[in-house]
């Protein structure tokens, strides 16, 4: 069915913390590993040792952000430029355009948990769903000729043959920085929903009308975190370390310096 369900019983998805992600690409590797060995057609590579190109369901972009010019009095201390590592995979949108454009019914959104999947046995590889996705979350596998996309590791999260702690998407399980969180975003009391509420989680490209389930937590401005508060009562504890170093050399080096100056 390529019409979308009117509602889903749950909305499983990811919350990605842009403040915490260090851009290590561990999630990319874990995703590629799990999804090459388990569910569906493997994620193939072409010319892996040459002009390498291949299928990935999760990629990390890095952006540089320069704050907009503002009067200094408005932002004290002034914000500086920063780099932001930006993991990007399927957002499992509520109003997923990739599902409705599919002519064969291969793309569908599950009623029970809101996961958007591709039935590879029905996919004809026309690529229209990849055109319809604003996030670049779908890639045709060049070897299998079918559309590949993030499944939220549907074959891990319900897998009763692995320990319960492992029943999370591979990217979440592997993230050493704890930047990725998995849960039910339709439940306002879930950990992920509370995290989104506390940190002001946002949708990507809201104007595209896709209503993504996955949320992104914006990076905190780095140079305002834990900035020492300056008061009249005394110097900051770090002040001694910031005192100017004597520029006049002493001892033997001082004598050498003065002698060389005279020559």
């Amino acid at each position: 069915m390529t019409t979308l369900p009117a509602s889903t019983e749950r909305s499983l998805g990811l919350v990605i913390d842009l403040d915490t992600c260090v851009g290590c690409h561990a999630c990319v590797t874990a995703c590629k590993g799990w999804n090459t060995q388990n569910y569906g057609a493997p994620l193939s590579d072409q010319d892996a040792y040459g002009d390498a190109s291949g299928t990935f369901l999760n990629r990390i972009h890095s952006f540089q952000v320069t704050p907009d010019a503002q009067p200094i009095s408005d932002v004290v201390p002034p914000r500086l430029a920063q780099t932001v590592h930006f993991p990007k995979s399927c957002l499992h949108c509520e109003d997923a355009p990739c599902v409705t454009v599919c002519p064969t019914g291969a793309s569908y959104k599950r009623v029970e948990d809101g996961i958007v999947l591709v039935n590879e046995d029905a996919c004809m590889g026309c690529g229209l769903c990849a055109w319809a996705c604003p996030y670049g979350a779908r890639e045709v596998d060049e070897a299998a000729g079918v559309m590949k996309k993030c499944t939220l590791c549907v074959d891990r999260i319900y897998n009763e043959n692995i320990p319960e702690t492992e029943r999370q998407p591979a990217c979440v399980r592997t993230c050493p920085a704890g930047a990725r969180h998995f849960g039910d975003l339709s439940d306002p009391d879930s950990d992920v929903s509370r995290l989104v509420a506390a940190r002001g989680g946002v949708d990507l490209m809201p104007e595209q009308g896709t209503v993504p389930v996955n949320k992104y937590l914006p990076p905190r401005p780095k140079d305002t975190i834990a900035a020492p508060e300056m008061t009249d009562e005394g110097e900051d504890v770090l002040a001694p370390f910031l005192a100017p170093v004597a520029e006049t050399p002493q001892g033997f080096l001082g004598w050498l310096d003065r002698t060389l100056e005279k020559i």
């Binding site: 990007k88 409705t100 002519p103 590889g125 045709v140 490209m205 104007e207």
Partner: protein
């Protein structure tokens, strides 16, 4: 977007083929016997040939037959139904004309309507995509329909209708370019909305060193240096010169020249349609910055 030859050939040729079927279905001209056979052979070669070219675009064609399933939501599925319905209805109508010398006029009208619907469904595959703002405008179906009808008028030997429709298609083309150049800025998708980061956002590092499916398909950077020249060539060949040729007394030589020029012009126009189309995913790869900057300058000016 990547200008895949299969898709360009498909939309150009099948458009002209279905345009010819519209005129034959309307009885303009009403033909029978061998003359009819030649007309229908050309129409079916163009329309079916185009559809077969489109099948070459599929990475997994063995599942192609399943594309009829989702007509309730998918314009690609609706196109599959419309094309088959139009070709089947017109096959009965054509068979009666060629082999029995009988013209079943109402059946022809139905076939003509279905042929027009087919072209419309083709155009809607592109028009529906909010991710490609240049296509996501009502000018796209107007352009596809007028181009198909102009080609059909030329192929069916209706010089007066062809002259008018060629001028209309040319005007629609000019509008599509004018509006298309502004659509990305109008859609409002920028690197800021794509990342929701506050400030001036620029790509610092790509997610990988080489290319991938997305960059080849959606962030295709064609040498657009010659885009303006190609636009001039396209509009002259597709509309202006064939329209001028319809004014002088037609014979097979001038008609063939007009048709070949027109088809060449439509192919050029469709190449530009794909090559100039910008997909919003390019923003994640640092593309389209110049486009947005230019539009910002325009709005300031």
């Amino acid at each position: 977007m990547h200008p895949a030859p299969s898709v360009i050939i498909f939309s150009s040729l099948s458009g002209a083929g279905f345009g010819l079927l519209v005129f034959l279905g309307l009885g303009l001209p009403t033909v029978t016997g061998w003359v009819a056979f030649v007309f229908y052979a050309i129409a079916y070669l163009l329309s079916v040939g185009g559809l077969l070219a489109a099948a070459a675009h599929l990475k997994n064609p063995k599942n192609g037959y399943k594309s009829f399933r989702e007509w309730r939501s998918s314009w690609l599925s609706r196109e599959a139904w419309a094309a088959v319905a139009a070709l089947l209805v017109m096959a009965v109508y054509a068979g009666a004309q060629v082999f029995a010398g009988v013209t079943l006029a109402p059946l022809g009208w139905l076939g003509a309507a279905l042929s027009l619907v087919t072209v419309f469904t083709t155009s809607m595959i592109y028009t529906q995509l909010r991710t490609v703002p240049r296509w996501n405008q009502w000018g796209t179906p107007v352009l596809f329909l007028l181009a198909a009808l102009a080609g059909g008028a030329l192929l069916s030997g209706n010089p007066n209708a062809a002259g008018l429709l060629l001028l209309a298609a040319g005007a629609a083309q000019l509008w599509h370019w004018w509006k298309g150049d502004r659509r990305f800025a109008e859609a409002g998708t920028t690197m800021r909305t794509a990342t929701r980061l506050k400030g001036q956002v620029s790509l610092w590092e790509k997610p990988h060193t080489g290319e991938n499916y997305l960059t080849r398909e959606m962030v295709y950077q064609v040498g657009r240096r010659h885009a303006l020249k190609l636009r001039v060539i396209a509009i002259l060949a597709m509309a202006a010169i064939p329209a001028a040729l319809t004014v002088i007394p037609m014979h097979h030589g001038t008609a063939a020249l007009a048709i070949l020029l027109h088809l060449g012009g439509v192919l050029t126009s469709r190449w530009l349609f794909f090559a100039e189309a910008e997909h919003v995913v390019g923003l994640y790869y640092g593309a389209h910055g110049n486009l947005l900057a230019n539009s910002a300058e325009r709005s300031l000016a």
